[in-house]
Amino acid sequence: MTVIQEGTVTAGNVVSARRTRKVAAGISPLRPRKSRLLTGLMLLYLVYTLVPLVWLVISATKTQSDLLSTSGLQFGHDFALFSNIKETLTYRNGIFLRWLGNTLLYVVVGAGGATLLATVAGYGLAKYRFPGRRVVFAVVLGAIAIPNTALAVPTFLMFSDMGLTNTVWAIIVPSLVSPFGLYLMWVYAEQAVPQELLEAARIDGAGEFRIFWTVSLRLLAPGIVTVLLFAVVSTWNNYFLPLIMLSKPNLYPLTVGLTQWSNQAQGAGADPIYNLVITGSLLTIVPLVVVFFLLQRFWQSGLSAGSVKQ
């Protein structure tokens, strides 16, 4: 899934490159001095991140035979993008659309839920003092340190005992937990919501829930979007967990489904459909690129959260 990550980073670069140009044109009053070396390095990086994306777009326009017979960065003999898209969407009775729907479900419920939980919990931990807070802190940090992949098999065995494997819950429930998002919201809430504001609201007679919903939530918005983006990206790209949790192709997300298509090219009776795998990959990253374009400014402001002590 590197392709997806490269793609998303690229979206960021395009916008920041545009911003740099604005600065150079004198729109910004600050006009920072340009560094040739850094610009050169950034250009190299831009090329580095764009090439895979360009390769993907070009390859998605080729037929299977052109893919195997022409060079990667030039167009094939036929422009087959639209027929590829059509074939991708209809191959095996449109299973691709089913996978897309599954991915959307996992993302909306899983990443949405994870963001909600992280926001509520992070806020609570940042703004209230209660016994055991340090323990929670240690547990959360410990949880961040464990890669999800390492937990996948134990989680599978646990879910299997509960009879949850091969259901959508097997993907959604683990995605609801985002220690990293919780930690981020915690740090963010500590600085974005001034204690004085909460005290003022309490003096005015507002209850804790009302304070949270009307005052704090607005202040937390940039942080929430950041956590949401992290959660969306990680759920969208989630591969290993659904790979071992699900054995019904009807429940697969795009990542696992596309891998299955790709694996069709192997061994006895191989039936490679590289053109569909590639077109499918392109279609898979489009929603992520769109989300990044739309939420880009929140993303950037969210990233710098917690980096400056006020």
Partner: protein, 452 residues
């Protein structure tokens, strides 16, 4: 992005690590029990019991990535409408095994019938995860199969599946390339080396064959050379890559790997398919299932490829199996009789026809001897009746081979050991030695008694 935060919790590193470790261990303890079969298979049943199970009907789940699986299941349910088969493509190769292993470990969720490659069969049969089909009298079908595939579905004395296909090796060669560079089709490995060097000198962009270091290929080559590096007797395992067969193979292959006359393109990639089509790769020593792959996936090679017997060390016909699968019944199955009946239908009944229609290469003697199969000219191969060569190969497989009871693990670490010798173009024998050391160590850790 995450790096910045990682640095922050460096202060708490000790706690973090401790927590992480303890929760991992705890998590690891969960659900290790139970691979006991749910249904009894102790009593000896007869083939009639299978017919009765088919009549009674029921539901079974079947995991497979065989291209013809869907068509076979459809044909089966047309014939037996009261049996419902949930066909699931749970992944190809390793993905499939990972899921199977997890389901077995969890004690539930495994299918009734699963496709298992010959090389992976001991790994599932030895721990008792599969049903011994001789309990249903299927051991009486021995004469229907080639000796090599019949041996491949046995682990110890148990029969753990019926052979679906076979992959006796043959040499596929690109006649255009051979004609252009005036090469003669080699019969022995010495001739093969000479051809390889001649070709690579004439055009350094052309390679006699492609082998980036592939465990399935290497073990098959050792098999052909008469090597028997793996022997298993219960928990006792012997691994020896220093026997004559292994040495015979490395003495040939070292010469080709060493001077770069073998290409090292990763198999089954788009680049590999491309190289098969454009003459970059001149020969492939590979299983008899390969024509189907050529026809569906290498359109550029149409009319150019031909088949010849695999070169041998002494000019006498000898070959090995390369790939191939069986269908097995899982101990977890709640209806093992019906599952066994389905396996019998798939690989000994009407299931074979849809399998052959999809270009599969059979393991059944009857189909291998069927003149309409043997003598069918193949237009892709310039009209050559390729099955004459391939069915002859099925009869000259060197007997006595067996795979490791943890072959899948062995395949996974092949790249870290022998693969290094390929990369460095150095002595493969040294690579095999480090593979052996790693396998001995792993096997003993897993509770086997390896080389003791």
């Amino acid at each position: 992005m995450k790096i910045g935060h990682r640095r922050r919790f460096g202060r708490l590193g000790a706690i973090t690590a401790a927590l992480a470790a303890s929760s991992l261990i705890l998590a690891g303890c969960g659900g290790s029990g139970g691979d006991n079969g749910s249904a009894g298979s102790g009593a000896k049943a007869s083939p009639q019991a299978l017919d009765a199970a088919l009549k009674k009907g029921g539901t079974i789940t079947y995991w497979s990535w065989t291209p013809s699986a869907e068509a076979q299941v459809k044909a089966f349910t047309d014939e037996y409408p009261n049996v419902k088969v949930n066909y699931v493509n749970a992944g190809t190769g390793n993905d499939h095994y990972k899921k199977l292993q997890n389901a077995i470990k969890a004690g539930s969720g495994a299918p009734d019938v699963a496709q298992i490659e010959y090389q992976a069969l001991p790994q599932f049969a030895l721990p008792g995860s599969l049903v011994d089909l001789s309990a249903y009298g299927l051991d009486s079908l021995e004469s229907d199969y080639t000796p090599s595939t019949w041996a491949a579905v046995h682990v110890g004395d148990g029969l753990y599946g019926l052979p679906q296909d076979s992959g006796p090796m043959a040499m596929f060669y690109n006649k255009d390339v051979f004609d252009k560079y005036h090469l003669t089709v080699p019969k022995t490995w010495d001739e093969y080396i000479a051809v390889a060097k001649k070709l690579h000198q004439a055009d350094p962009t052309k390679f006699i064959t492609d082998d980036p270091g592939d465990p399935g290929f290497a073990t098959s080559m050792i098999w052909q050379a008469g090597g028997k590096p793996f022997t298993t007797d219960g928990k006792k395992v012997t691994i020896n890559f220093q026997d004559d067969g292994s040495k015979k193979w490395t003495s040939v292959w070292n010469q080709l790997v060493g001077d770069g006359s073998i290409g090292q393109i990763a198999g089954w990639t788009d680049e590999w398919y491309k190289a098969l089509g454009d003459g970059t790769i001149a020969t492939m020593n590979i299983g008899a299932w390969m024509p189907g792959v050529f026809e569906s996936s290498v359109p550029g090679g149409a009319g150019k490829w031909r088949v010849a017997p695999m070169p041998t060390y002494d000019g006498q016909p000898a070959t090995a199996e390369n790939g191939g699968s069986t269908e097995s019944v899982l101990k977890q199955s709640k209806n093992p009789a019906l599952a066994a009946a389905f396996v019998r239908w798939l690989n000994n009944g009407n299931g074979i026809k849809p399998f052959l229609e999809k270009g599969g290469f059979p393991a059944t003697v009857k189909d291998l001897n069927d003149p309409s199969f043997v003598n069918k000219p193949d237009p892709y191969f310039g009209g050559q009746p390729v099955n004459q060569v391939l069915t002859a190969a099925a009869k000259s497989v060197v007997p006595g081979w067996s795979y490791l009871p943890y072959e899948l693990y062995a395949n996974n670490i092949f790249g870290d050991t022998v693969g290094k010798s390929y990369l460095a173009k150095s002595d493969l024998n040294a690579g095999l030695e480090s593979w052996q050391n790693a396998l001995v160590k792993y096997g003993n850790e897993q509770g086997f008694e390896v080389n003791k």
